[in-house]
């Protein structure tokens, strides 16, 4: 039953994936500017012949439909081509950048849900209390701080003024050749500010979401039934309200999967974090089509995969979807 449901959902996501890649492909190739135009990183005094040669080399002289078809065929074999810049394979670029992003966003995600969910629940149960009101007010303030401004402020205060944490980068030069414990500690130390930046906005969103979801559930008739049974408030919250209130959170978790692996290019750029976001950003700045497309496909696959995962989890947890 569950397996069939999962397969069906997976099948439905194939056209979506194709659509996303097609759109990205078109945006990239139809926009003015190209890797061989003067605005690229190449020599501006390049001759027309060499431009033609280069275009042929990259396959840019073929019709768009052929280019897309070729690219799609190669993708099917997990071959995303080579980067225009250094001729390394796109896959190896991605594999190099992936761990840093996974680390940053994994830790952030743990913090976001680990702290956000309890706060949201608490805020809802004590709805209208000083704690709840303080939360509502502070979330209002938090939404007003864009991530990149927060990043700069954190760098300013904790990096430049207090000197507690490094301003940017993944590790310090001194940690090279040290024991693995020292290296890990050094990375963690570098992780603090980017994680804080990444988690901050999402944390408030998750807490608010959980708060509304819990409030919604607490007003349901079956909660009244539970009270009428004579159950205590604690058991009603844990056994009746929470399982229902957590259902929509699954969708939220699914939505965070792409961010988990895709990364945010602004945050990674500011903190010079060697992850996927920065990779994609730099690839786009250099008109590195294969690399950009590789990152996009990765992102699209993950978005779709995250949604799929959320749907399946939903089916596991919510009996109404399963049958």
């Amino acid at each position: 039953m569950l397996l069939r449901y999962a397969l069906k959902r997976a099948l439905f996501s194939v056209p979506l994936l194709l659509g996303i890649t097609l759109i990205s492909f078109l945006v990239l190739h139809l926009a003015p500017g190209s890797p061989v135009s003067a605005r690229g990183s190449l020599n501006p005094h390049i001759s027309p012949e060499s431009i033609r040669e280069l275009r042929a080399l990259y396959g840019l002289d073929k019709p768009l439909s052929t280019q897309y078809w070729d690219w799609l065929k190669r993708c099917a074999g997990f071959n995303f081509g080579d980067s225009f810049q250094d001729r390394q394979s796109v896959l190896s670029h991605i594999l190099q950048a992936l761990p840093a992003t996974l680390l940053l966003n994994g830790v952030a995600l743990l913090l976001v849900f680990g702290l956000g969910l309890p706060l949201g629940i608490f805020s809802a149960i004590r709805s209208g209390s000083p704690l709840d009101r303080a939360f509502t007010l502070s979330s209002f303030l938090a939404f007003s701080i864009p991530a990149f401004v927060l990043a700069l402020f954190l760098q300013l205060v904790f990096g430049a003024w207090l000197g507690w944490f490094p301003i940017s980068g993944f590790s310090s030069p001194w940690s090279m050749g040290q024991g693995w414990l020292a290296q890990a500690g050094d990375v963690l130390w570098h992780l603090v500010l980017p994680v804080w930046t990444t988690a901050f906005g999402a944390w408030v969103t998750v807490a608010q979401y959980m708060r509304n979801s819990t409030l919604e559930v607490l007003s349901q008739d079956y909660i009244r039934t539970a009270f009428a049974k004579g159950l205590g408030a604690r058991r009603i919250t844990l056994r009746h309200a929470l399982p229902n209130a957590l259902l929509p959170i699954i969708t939220l978790l699914g939505l965070s999967v792409p961010g988990l692996v895709g990364g945010s290019f602004i945050i990674e750029t500011i903190f010079a974090w060697p992850g996927m976001g920065r990779l994609g950003y730099e690839a786009a700045m250099n008109y590195d089509y294969p690399l950009v497309m590789g990152v996009v496909v990765m992102g699209a696959v993950l978005t779709v995969f995250g949604n799929l995962l959320a749907d399946i989890c939903y089916a596991v947890v919510d009996p109404r979807v399963r049958y």
Partner: protein, 272 residues
């Protein structure tokens, strides 16, 4: 039931007008010429003469902030107006016409929703090239879907109401119907959405300009001011602090105003 007093709306509007006033009166409020360089006065901390300090070229930060307000708020406003125009037009068309027009527009919306906005913005701006006009264009092109969906939904629910049916039976033409009957009634939630859209647009412009993809030097905008802030983070805090605070406080004011509007149009939902 009395409507709750829209305190948020009043204060939001007050501060919003304050910001707009600064932007509009920049030529008079600006203490000095924002582009005047003075290498002798590079990176000076805040003082009575330069009360937000000077930047790496010796330009007065306070003056650049005031002129930057003009650019940041101006670009944000223009972008959100364009967004709204596209969104309302397409949403109204989809909702009022139905049929294949509706199907076509809604499929387009779906596709836009699938591609991450930030990536789309980045790709478009990289390939269109930076600049004020392109920033506005890109924000408008990527942001219209929310408003379009909202307007369409409002119009669909209004379309079957009595007064619209009455107008239709009276033989009103479809466009007249949209302009005179449907749109005015669908606008409440649109105002709210436009307000939050303004915050999003200002944030987007600031982000792009910060990355050097938006407003080009020497034109000041809050986002581009932050760029030099990051370069001189260790030595010149004022280059980061003041533009950052300006962006945050404008966001806060707009959210306050939006929250007030939401309360005003939908008192019951806001009370929860």
């Amino acid at each position: 039931m009395n409507a709750p007093k829209p305190r948020a709306l009043k204060w939001g509007a007050f501060f919003l007008l304050l910001f707009a006033g600064v932007a509009l009166l920049a030529p008079w409020l600006s203490p000095q010429n924002p582009d005047r360089q003075s290498l002798a006065e590079r990176l000076e901390p805040p003082s009575p003469l330069h009360w937000m300090g000077t930047d790496e070229l010796g330009r007065d930060v306070a003056s650049r902030m005031v002129w930057g307000a003009r650019v940041s708020l101006g670009v944000g406003t223009a972008a959100v107006l364009a967004t709204t125009l596209i969104g309302v037009l397409l949403g109204a068309l989809a909702g009022a016409q139905g049929g294949w027009v509706d199907a076509l527009i809604m499929r387009a919306v779906d596709i836009f929703l699938c591609v991450p906005t930030l990536f789309l913005v980045l790709a478009l701006i990289v390939f269109l090239g930076p600049g004020i006009e392109n920033v506005i264009l890109v924000i408008a092109l990527t942001g219209w879907t929310d408003i379009a969906r909202l307007v369409r939904a409002e119009i669909l629910s209004l379309r079957e109401r009595e007064f619209v049916l009455a107008a239709r039976t009276a033989g009103a033409s479809p466009w007249r119907l949209i302009l005179k009957h449907l749109l005015p009634n669908a606008l409440g939630p649109v105002y709210v959405s436009v307000t939050f859209g303004l915050a999003g647009a200002i944030m987007m412009e600031a982000g792009l300009s910060f990355l050097g993809l938006g407003v080009q030097p020497p034109t000041p905008s809050w986002g581009s001011l932050l760029t030099s802030g990051q370069d001189y983070l260790q030595t010149a805090y004022w280059l980061t602090l003041f533009p950052g605070l300006a962006i945050c406080s404008s966001m806060l004011v707009i959210y306050l105003f939006g929250e007030g509007l939401r309360e005003y149009f939908n008192p019951r939902a806001a009370q929860r």
